[in-house]
Amino acid sequence: MTNEPILEVQDLRYSYDRTREALHIGRFSLRNGERVAVLGANGAGKSTFFLCLNGVLEAGGRIFCSGREMTKRDRNELRRRVGIVFQDPDRQIIASTVGEEVSFGPMNLRLPPDEVARRVDDSLRYLDLTEFRSRPAHYLSGGEKKRVSIADILAMEPDVLVFDEPTVSLDPKNVELFEHVLDKLREEGRTVLLSTHNVDFAYRWAERAVVLHEGAVAADGPIGEVLADEALLARCSLRPPALLEIARLLREKGVLPDRAPLPRDTETLKKMLEGQK
């Protein structure tokens, strides 16, 4: 039972105009606690994929949650289990105050008022937003709005958290704050699916990468292997992470041994270099 994928799709197909398939995912599954980065050029189908995963776009094919098939009747169940944090908080935040905004999802789940209040409290505390509770959403800064949009989804207590391009339009300080949130989620063993153009960030954070190219899965595997495949990256208009290129260069120049493992973050590289001395 523990090995059952928390989310699995088979033969997922979607087309916007009926003439050309925008998305065709043969098979994709997520295990509990996985951290997966979805990479791909603009228009590769990342956002479409996400919207299909929680049933907002009605795709052909089958979707399973913890082994149970989600039919049309289970649409609300699917939306509860798979929560999407959208790219632009200004296209997600619907309510006028932060507290009301975070309550929108739980209210739609028809939870009792006490439970809604508890979840709003918890999510606001999780994202350090408690003092913003009765503030108006339209006077918040970009980083604060982003945190509100994450609290929105946490309050629904989904099995899988999906982030669509979360670091776009955040300044470095807010990216750091966001990474702290991701760390916290990792410690709790949450399942996170995240799309990004920032390969350096993906390389640091994810354990598995899925590359989408023209609406189909071009690669799916451990992120170190996927991002080391230069031919694949070139075909899908992606670049390798800077750290990987530097480590390769150091290998070529003989600073690092030929068979040294490739480092995942600057800290590891530093230790490797110090070990060489």
């Binding site: 632009d88 997600q92 105050t97 970009g142």
Partner: protein, 264 residues
């Protein structure tokens, strides 16, 4: 997107309503008291009663709610101009012959005024100022979203309440987009000269429409993904009216009537 800086009196009042020290009071209580005071100004037409409303609402707003007095005065200034111009026409009569109690010849005409006319002008000014101030008691302490939610309690149809709520939210999104478009056009000299300004304004409004439609579509997807199924539901903290508040509110609302009876 960068943090939007809002300016202008409307958004200043909007922002102040969220900060007001009286925000925690029940929106229905505030609506009730402010409507009662407004009606008593208009119905009684009494100068002392209206002055009481003006002074008491200003004091409660600025001392109790910590609304900056400057903002209150600014907000009162706009209707004040209308009130003074309107009542001047009542106080002063212009004719070919002197009339009333005092007359002054000027520009070949007699400008005259009477004790009764002046009294009536003062009465109207006081009434209008008191009424506007009573309204501000509501608008400066209650954010629009709470006014809208309290409309639901008054059995306004749900569709209208939700529309009002969304329109309020969209005002800020649209004005943000509009500002960005305007700045982008200005930086390309789009507003040099009258003809070009008109043309630029027209095209940018067209773009704004297309943008808003797309944004509305994205919004709908985001709402669906959080389980939206046709009804906007938010959790609101209950803010019941306490017995003390009810008594104080009633006393305040009835005091102008008492003043009117005493000074009649």
């Amino acid at each position: 997107m960068a943090h939007d800086h809002h300016s202008g009196p409307v958004s200043a009042i909007d922002m102040e309503a969220y900060r007001s020290g009286l925000r925690h009071l029940s929106p229905a209580w505030k609506l009730g008291v402010s409507l009662a005071l407004l009606v008593s100004c208009v119905a009684l037409r009494s100068i002392p009663a209206s002055l009481f409303v003006l002074v008491s609402t200003a004091a409660v707003l600025c001392l109790g709610g910590r609304t900056p007095f400057r903002l209150y005065l600014d907000a009162l200034a706009a209707p004040l101009v209308f009130i003074l111009l309107g009542t001047a026409a009542i106080a002063v009569e212009v004719g070919r012959a002197p009339a009333g109690d005092w007359s002054v010849p000027f520009l070949g005409l007699w400008w005259s005024s009477s004790r009764a006319g002046l009294l009536r002008a003062a009465q109207l000014s006081a009434t209008a100022l008191g009424a506007v101030s009573a309204l501000y008691l509501q608008t400066m302490t209650t954010p629009v979203c709470e006014i809208v939610s309290s409309m639901a309690a008054l059995h306004v149809p749900g569709l209208l309440v939700e529309l009002a709520y969304l329109i309020y939210r969209f005002i800020f999104l649209l004005s943000g987009s509009a500002r960005q478009l305007r700045v982008a056009a200005q930086s390309r000299l789009g507003y040099c000269g009258f003809r070009r300004s008109l043309r630029t304004f027209g095209t940018s409004m067209g773009t704004l429409l297309a943008l808003s439609l797309r944004q509305a579509g994205d919004y709908y997807d985001a709402m669906l993904s959080r389980g939206y199924d046709g009804g906007l539901r938010f959790y609101e903290e209950k803010r019941p009216v306490t017995a003390v508040q009810a008594v104080l509110g009633a006393a305040w609302a009835l005091f102008p009537l008492a003043i009117w009876l005493a000074t009649r």
